[in-house]
Amino acid sequence: MIETLGVTKAYGKDEYAVRDLSIKVEKGEFAFLTGPSGAGKSTLLRLLLLQERPTEGQIIIEGRDLQSLTPSEVQAYRRMVGFVFQDFKLIPTKTVFENVAFVLRVLGQPVEQQRRRTYTVLKWVGLQHRHNAYPLELSGGEQQRVAIARALVNEPHIMLADEPTGNLDPDLSLEIMNLFRDINASGTTVLVATHDRELIKWVGRRVIQLDHGHLAGTAPPPPPPEPLL
């Protein structure tokens, strides 16, 4: 479960990116974080990834207060969180396979396990045939699928995504959202930040609305959606 209790993130005096924000995402839930530019969506995700620390308030993930974590514990915490960014953040000098296997490599996994697990997730996102390609040889949708494969390869409990379809056309966006639904179906908690209302409507999950760093409201999950593709 993800829970924030009165979280505030200020940059200087009277410049609040997030202010007194209390939200809750249940374990195994798929929720959207939405709002206009500057609403605080990305800041909240950065706080959840511990790229930044809140100025005030508490963030509780699976019962642990993130404020109390030491630097080594932060790294251990991040191993159970997958992340996907709008700009993919792939390493251009590494192949698709290397980009995904890299995560397991730097976590000290045995080579055979790296190979097996990487091929499994590449197959799952439908890119096993492009494992030798470099990121710049791929389409935007393919690059985002590599990023999702990289986020999944370590079997995270939580998946965070910041505008994952921001650079993609509507068809590719639906394709990516289908992947997130499948990830969620396997029990992973998914929190996707997006300002794409059409996409939210199509996917049909609970929405957490932010505005100027405040919680503007939550919309309950609509009835189960039809398959997208």
Binding site: L49, Q51, P71, S72, V74, Q75, A76, Y77, R78, R79, M80, V81, F83, K89, I91, P92, F102, V103, R105, V106, L107, G108, Q109, P110, V111, R150, N154
Partner: protein
């Protein structure tokens, strides 16, 4: 894959990528260590010469013609009891004359024409090589005050002074080598920071996926270590070439100074000191620079 294997892999890849800047870094470290190695080479050879001279150093105690055999025996007992004394030999005035005639045969006729033996009897005192010189000077003063002694000649004073000068020069050279090494460490740090910058995307991903700090920083520590070790190895090779060149060109001039007229190369201890120095300086610079990797 262990953190060490991963770090070595990445460090080698980074060195291949950085090419020229890595070469500059190795060169800077090499210059610092060539200075240190050259200084060590000169130092060990001067020390050898001084040690031999110090071992051969003596106190000559000249006796009055009127000195009795009891006074001489008491003096010998006194000297042999002293810890800084290695040996005491009595040279009678007759023996001294014979030695002179043997060493300077062309002047033998001169001594024959003398009505009496001009050489005094003497005690030749050989000192231990490890003695500092200060206690020998005290001994010389004490001996000169004893009865039966006409004069005392001590030839270690100038050697002790020379040793002092050499020690000062050694300190100055160590200081220069230290400053150069500090410069070398900064260069290694700069090269490691360049690698860090080149890999910033990877480092960001590593931090976000929760890679242990040893995996994040390890490659940069190993890179510094390799640069330092490589620089020291290059320096040793250059010092080796300088040594053989100096041995050839100075050989005849050294005949009277160095043992067998040959310069001595650095011993295993000095070689290990240089290699370890390079590795430690490089690894320390890499460790400091790598702190920025997970900020």
């Amino acid at each position: 894959m262990t953190v060490l294997a991963y770090s070595i892999d990445e460090a080698l890849a980074s060195l291949r990528r950085s090419g020229k800047s890595a070469a500059v870094s190795v060169g800077t470290i090499a210059i610092a260590f060539i200075t240190l190695g050259g200084f060590l080479l000169v130092s060990v050879n001067i020390q050898d010469v001084l040690d031999r001279w110090l071992e051969a150093a003596e106190i000559s105690v000249y006796l009055h013609d009127t000195a009795t055999s009891e006074e001489r025996a008491a003096l010998q007992d006194f000297l042999r009891a002293r810890p800084e004394v290695a040996a005491v030999e009595y040279v009678s005035n007759e023996s001294a004359l014979q030695r002179f005639r043997k060493d300077f045969p062309e002047l033998a006729d001169v001594t024959s024409s003398l009505s009496q033996n001009p050489f005094p009897s003497a005690l030749e005192v050989r000192l231990r090589g490890d003695d500092s010189g200060a206690s020998a000077e005290t001994l010389a003063r004490e001996v000169s005050a004893r009865s039966g002694v006409a004069d005392v000649q001590f030839d270690r004073t100038w050697l002790a002074r020379l040793l002092g000068v050499v020690n000062s020069a050694r300190l100055a050279a160590a200081l220069v080598a230290g400053i150069l090494m500090l410069g070398a460490a900064f260069t290694v740090g700069a090269v490691v920071r360049l690698s860090l910058y080149a890999r910033r995307d990877e480092l960001e991903i590593m931090a976000l996926v929760g890679a242990p700090f040893s995996y994040i920083r390890g490659p940069f520590v190993i890179e510094g270590l390799l640069l330092g070790g490589l620089g020291a190895t290059v320096a040793l090779m250059v010092v080796g070439v300088l040594y053989s060149f100096a041995g050839q060109s100075l050989g005849s001039n050294l005949a009277g100074l160095a043992e067998d007229g040959q310069l001595r190369f650095l011993g295993y201890g000095e070689i290990a000191l240089m290699l370890m120095g390079g590795i430690v300086v490089g690894a320390a610079a890499g460790t400091l620079a790598s702190r920025a990797a997970h900020r």
